[in-house]
């Protein structure tokens, strides 16, 4: 497959790994903040192929994982209503709320459907004028343009039976929160390629300068990831603080302007709670007041639902790079992908789920 197979070429990956070995002279902690990259790193064993000086830690880059528990409970409350067709990206259905998940709502008669694109949910609203269609609009900057388009399209089509349950989060404020923590260990960042494909990387130079940390925009294929690591190690070894783009085939400095314009029209920034971490100021988007009619939390009056996390879970420490999944007492015991206790186990892109799936039960 073009633009995929070339970037999985084992000889090229090995060549770049050798170059990293030649470059590195001391220990460095590098964080990726994208669930797709975390999954790729563990799947291909890239962290184990890197020289021992380089420790990769896995930041809060999985949108399913960081969606707060009370939002899952809100989704379940809405999806349980008889007049509602509840639509969602597939990976949200098995995320457990405080008592059950969306799959079990469906099993007990709720109309819960997986959609491939948010526009499919809009289409369902057109086809079912006597039902309320709700779309679970979660995700990072990558899903914001599709989610914003669903609202804009519903408005253009004059649909009054469509609404969205929004949990949009943004990466740069999370990087601020991690680097600004007194316990921070992270010395270099791999920035998420597709987040930057949408938003560009103009937000990153001030972060790099403030915290003295190099940031390299990085793609998802094995070759992209080792190349991102090579760039960040070169910068760290030379003491240079810069933002570089190692994913230029998909990312420009400015990003996708039409996508940013629609996000800006539909959403405004707000404080958001991240599962496992807590509230990060200005780290999310919510609907602008002029789109309040499409806000499912308002329409179904679920804004007051609260939830408590399991006291055993150390997802917060894992998401900040302070602990690894196998450091957790509950990992693989009380907490498994079938019965996840917290953020990092709930989706295949979470660090704990990836470690579990690929058999990383010890620090070997």
């Amino acid at each position: 497959m073009k633009y995929v197979s070339e970037y999985r070429d084992a000889d090229l990956v090995k060549g770049v790994l050798d170059e990293i070995c030649r470059t590195v002279t001391q220990p460095w902690v590098v964080m990726e903040i994208c669930g797709g990259q975390t999954h790729s790193i563990v799947r291909y064993g890239i962290d184990q192929l890197l020289p021992s000086e380089i420790e990769l830690v896995h930041g809060p880059g999985c949108p399913v994982c960081v969606t707060p528990l009370e939002l899952i409970d809100k989704a379940i409350a809405i999806a349980s209503r008889p007049e509602v067709i509840f639509t969602s990206y597939g990976d949200m259905l098995r995320v457990p709320g405080s008592e059950r998940d969306l799959f079990s709502v469906r099993a007990s008669g709720g109309d819960v459907r997986v959609v491939y694109s948010p526009l499919d949910a809009v289409k369902l609203a057109q086809q079912n004028p006597d039902r309320e269609v709700v779309f679970f609009a979660i995700g990072f900057e990558t899903t914001a343009p599709p989610n914003a388009m669903s609202v804009s399209q519903a408005q253009a089509l004059g649909l009054d039976n469509f609404s969205v349950l929004v949990s949009e989060v943004r990466v740069p404020p999370a990087i601020h929160a991690i680097l600004g923590s007194p316990h921070n260990r992270v010395q270099g960042f791999l920035a998420a390629g597709h987040v930057c494909a949408v938003m560009g990387y103009w937000e990153y130079p001030p972060i790099a300068e403030t915290y003295n940390v190099p940031i390299v925009v990085t793609g998802f294929e094995p070759l992209d990831i080792v190349r991102g690591v090579l760039h960040v190690v070169r910068l760290l070894e030379s003491g240079e603080v810069a933002v570089e783009n190692a994913y230029a085939r998909a990312v420009t400095f400015e990003g996708n302007k039409p996508a940013q314009a629609l996000i800006e029209r539909v959403f405004e920034t707000c404080d958001r709670k991240w599962r496992g971490i807590g509230v990060i100021p200005q780290s999310g988007w919510k609907l602008r007041p002029e789109f309040a009619a499409f806000d499912a939390e308002r329409r179904f009056q679920v804004a007051d639902i609260q939830a408590e996390e399991s006291p055993l879970c150390i997802a917060g420490l894992i998401l900040q790079g302070l602990k690894k999944p196998h450091d957790c007492e509950a990992f693989g015991r009380q907490c498994t992908p079938e019965h996840p206790l917290g953020a990092t186990m709930v989706s295949a892109e979470g660090a704990c789920a990836a470690y579990y799936r690929y058999g990383r039960f010890t620090n070997e």
Partner: protein, 86 residues
Amino acid sequence: MCLGVPGRVNEIYEANGLKMGKVDFGGVKREVCLEYVPEVEIGEYVIVHVGFAINQMSEEEAEETLDLLRQIINIEDEIGPEGGVT
């Protein structure tokens, strides 16, 4: 969810006032919203996320990256496998 996949635009049309298209992912074809890549033409590659093209793929940059990385390997061949390892 964050795995955007590159695909080739095979067909472009309009539906409900939106620029849409058929995109081929190594044989699997899907309908994709092209509203965010207004300049894309048939035969070009886009990165697709949840049914939306979020950017065009730069063929030039893709080739340049591979060339750069091949050079790293060639340098290694010239100086030998142990050369320069610290």
